[in-house]
Symmetry: C2
Subunit: 100 residues, 2 copies
């Protein structure tokens, strides 16, 4: 079943846009391993936070992605930008009004 991750990543002051650049770097691999949606964004009222919404083919695909070397390297690269504040939630998709 489709798995969703909605998250917030706090950054050190002024590092938000650098984190956005990392997270939006084109990756063919993500789609190949089951990532259906991966939107990255910002909000004016939270200048040091990056927001993400991800949809995955299933929870296993998401878990497996975290073990990939490309993803591990990306996580290591952005760690110096992060404040350590994380938020959000994960859930199993059970339906949508857009497609029955």
């Amino acid at each position: 079943m489709t798995f969703a991750n909605a998250g917030t990543l706090g950054t050190l002051p002024g590092k938000r846009d650098e984190l956005v650049t990392h997270l939006t770097r084109r990756s063919n691999m993500l789609g190949e391993i089951g990532c259906l949606v991966y939107e990255v964004g910002v909000a004016d009222d939270h200048p040091d936070t990056v927001f993400v919404v991800e949809l995955w083919k299933d929870e296993q695909s998401h878990q497996a992605s975290l073990a990939l070397s490309e993803v591990q390297e990306s996580i290591a690269a952005v760690r110096p930008l992060l404040s350590g504040e994380f938020g959000g939630f994960r859930f199993t998709v059970v339906g949508s009004p857009l497609h029955g």
Copy 2:
């Protein structure tokens, strides 16, 4: 620019699945007014919470949707199911690694 809403809706005990049924009822209107994604879900560790992730063509589309009679009626119908606990966040999408 694409607008995202990721939210949690607390329900009264045992009312979660009834809220899911309401929120996943097929609506052609939502797509017509600019809703791109609307996924509804649940999580085992939060038995009285419904989760949603929405993507809209822009923030105006989302705002406009809240004023529609169909949406107003839906909100009125589910209100008795809600505990009053809401969470989540909204943001402006700035990019995606899937379609860089």
